[in-house]
């Protein structure tokens, strides 16, 4: 293990000299966690995230992660992660597909309990039937859990977002979990050049007493504290307390916007945003869109790209403004339900101009030609 020094996250993210390495998505997870000054990681195997957590285990063996073990199922792992976070540790885990479903009850629990957990989701198709191939329908199910959701386009995003996620999650006025999503095998098992932060740097240590709720360690007050009790029993009338609590989690989500703006540079990224036709996408669909847009622009079609990096909180105002001029908005997705198109239709002024697709799912790849067809069709 090499000696690491704690650095200011702004220095790490914006100034430190990066080195490029040709690595897989799983390896990008390793590189991020190596610099995360992580207390604990808990693992459970499920394709395609197993390799990521193997590598995190190797980091534990090397000394970069202080505690690590394999749990017995995803619900148990996410529960243990909650216990560790309530105890004041910085903790990480990963899952995807059926694993996400198995653990599901814990996700809104994490948010309600104000736990700054970072969890990577390597999405894969949902049973029945079974497929291990990429499909991000699980993101639709997670939209209302109160977790921040960042969608990585590729390994670079995955690497950067994991580290930034800790810094956003741990802010006192945020302090809710962050899910960093990646479209399964497309990223985890493919190699690309990733610009890594210096390996002798690590994030500042998590201070659990910056938490907006007491830490479960018998070293802070109040002592008579349960996380989290049946509030409806308080004076027998506290239904408003539950409602107010839910609203507070929502508020925490809104507060995260300014930190996401600071670290990620924005909840979205745009290219040729003044174009007549816009392709709006997140995750791997952005990569495929880039190729389609390149060809379309060579053909003289005025088309631009909006890459959405943050699904929750959703960049409502940005999208409303950016899509107001466009004549057509194409939304390619790697899922059947079109959750991104639906989110977009909820916020833009003219939902009719949204092209609901192209969509592929169940592990199918999305040839750029599919997107190109929709772009060309939109010109007519």
């Amino acid at each position: 293990m090499i000696e690491q020094k704690i650095v200011d996250p702004d220095f790490l993210f914006f100034e430190a000299l990066r080195t490029s390495e040709y690595i897989t998505g799983s390896e990008a997870v390793r590189e991020a966690i190596k610099r995360a000054n992580l207390d604990m990681a808990i693992a459970y195997p499920i394709t395609p995230q197993s390799e990521s957590m193997h590598l995190v285990g190797d980091l534990y063996a090397e000394g970069y992660v202080k505690e690590y073990y394999r749990g017995e199922n995803e619900f148990a792992v996410m529960s243990a992660v909650a216990g560790a976070s309530m105890g004041g540790a910085r903790v990480f885990t990963a899952t995807g597909g059926p694993g996400t479903m198995r653990a599901f009850e814990m996700f809104p629990t994490w948010s309600g309990a104000r736990l700054p957990i970072v969890c990577a989701f390597m999405t894969r198709g949902i049973n029945s039937p079974l497929t291990i191939q990429p499909d991000n329908i699980e993101m639709a199910f997670l939209l209302e859990t109160g977790m921040i959701m960042l969608h990585a386009e590729g390994s670079q995003d995955l690497h950067d977002m994991i580290l930034m996620a800790f810094m956003v999650a741990e802010k006192t006025d945020v302090h809710i979990p962050v899910g960093v999503f990646v479209d399964g095998f497309f990223v985890t098992h493919t190699r690309t050049n990733v610009n890594l932060f210096p390996e002798d740097c690590k994030l500042p240590t998590y201070n659990p007493y910056d938490s907006p709720v007491p830490v479960m360690d018998m070293e802070n007050v109040p002592i008579r504290q349960m996380r989290d009790p049946f509030v409806m029993k308080s004076n027998f009338i506290s239904y408003a307390a539950h409602a107010s609590w839910q609203q507070e989690v929502d508020a925490a989500m809104e507060r995260s916007r300014k930190y996401l703006l600071h670290y990620l540079g924005g909840l979205i990224e745009t290219e040729h945003e003044d174009a007549d036709i816009l392709v709006v996408a997140s995750g791997t669909a952005v990569s495929q869109s880039r190729e389609a847009i390149r060809v379309a622009r060579d053909e003289g079609i005025h088309v631009g790209l909006i890459k959405i990096k943050s699904i929750r909180p959703f960049p409502r105002e940005e999208l409303r403004a950016l899509t107001s001029r466009a004549q057509a908005v194409v939304v390619p997705e790697f899922n059947r339900t079109g959750w991104l198109a639906r989110e977009l239709c909820n916020v833009i002024n003219e939902p009719r101009k949204v092209v609901q697709g192209p969509r592929v799912f169940g592990g199918m790849t999305m040839p750029p030609e599919l997107i190109l067809e929709e772009i060309r069709r939109s010109t007519r």
């Binding site: 207390d39 604990m40 808990i42 202080k66 505690e67 073990y69 749990g71 017995e72 199922n73 619900f75 148990a76 792992v77 529960s79 243990a80 992660v81 909650a82 216990g83 560790a84 976070s85 309530m86 105890g87 004041g88 540790a89 903790v91 009850e105 814990m106 629990t109 659990p208 007491p214 479960m216 360690d217 018998m218 070293e219 007050v221 002592i223 008579r224 504290q225 349960m226 996380r227 989290d228 009790p229 049946f230 029993k233």
Partner: protein, 284 residues
């Protein structure tokens, strides 16, 4: 708990309600109280909504009074009647969901060990029979198989009491309960034996009818869990409400069950645990 942490700030003594002043002036933190001292100190459990005659409430009070180090104990509970008492307990405690209490406790224990390497933090699971033997059996056993340094204490009222008295794995065969209108058709789980086979270094089955025995078991279990391995204590805590026992007769009901051989007290101690207990009990 850092020494002197539980102090009322200057100038606020006169406005703090009495239950807090009592906790500071006469609480059990760092005092080494035991059940023999009950009645002379401020108990950890404040006024709670459990029924008159509740065996669970009594078992909980005795358990809390038996903690070797309440000042450094964090409890992980689960949904059930005990979850209605725990907000009123003056210890940090976590309400897990239901069944995942041992998984939560595992994460918590390991985190506390990282953050306080030079201090002992006892993590104790206290939950009902539904949470431990049914919905949570998998995760409870896995924490034992992993040899986590946890104490698991079951408040066994042989039913899902808080939801209206449904049959649980710990109900006796033949008991007619909700969701078992024709009587339960499989035997009460023998969890002490399962605990031992799964790696628990110390296992006991007790009841509040014998408070000293209960207290000794809880104390032993927590001390053994510190370094030797996981431990399990099962406390028979009858529910007068769901079993239609007169609330004044909970203790005599327990005694009757024991006389009839329908509830057995046990103690299963591994060699390693026995050696450990011999050294510490010799000293005291």
């Amino acid at each position: 708990m850092k020494t002197g942490m539980l102090r009322i700030s200057p100038g606020f003594d006169d406005i703090m309600p009495s239950e807090y002043r009592e906790l500071v002036d006469n609480g059990p933190y760092g005092q080494g109280y035991a059940i023999k001292d009950l009645g002379s100190f401020k108990e950890l459990l404040e006024e709670h909504p459990l029924c008159a005659g509740c065996g669970l409430a009594l078992a909980l009070r005795l358990t809390l009074a038996s903690l070797p180090a309440p000042e450094d104990t964090v409890v992980v509970g689960s949904t059930g009647c005990s979850a209605l008492a725990f907000p009123q307990v003056a210890l940090h405690n976590i309400h897990s969901l239901f069944g995942n209490q041992n998984a939560v406790a595992t994460g918590l224990k390991r985190a506390l060990r990282l953050r306080f390497p030079d201090k002992v933090k006892d993590v104790v699971v206290i939950a009902g029979d539904g949470a431990i033997a049914d919905i949570g059996l998998d995760m409870v056993m896995q924490s034992w198989l992993r040899r986590e340094n946890l104490t698991t204490i079951m408040l066994d009222n042989e039913a899902y009491a808080n939801t209206g008295g449904q049959e649980s794995g710990m109900s006796v065969q033949g008991a007619v309960l909700n969701m078992a209108p024709k009587g339960k058709n499989f035997p009460k789980l023998s969890l002490p034996e399962i605990a031992q086979a799964s790696g628990c270094a110390y296992v006991a089955s007790v009841s509040p009818a014998k408070p000293k025995q209960l207290s000794k078991a809880v104390r032993r279990a927590i001390l053994v869990a510190r370094d030797t391995g996981p431990t399990y204590v099962q406390i028979y805590s009858p529910c007068p409400t769901n079993y239609k026992i007169n609330s004044k007769e909970t203790i005599s009901y327990i005694k009757w069950r024991e006389r009839e051989g329908l509830y057995k007290t046990t103690e299963l101690i591994s060699q390693q645990a026995q050696a450990f207990l011999d050294t510490i009990e010799e000293k005291s």
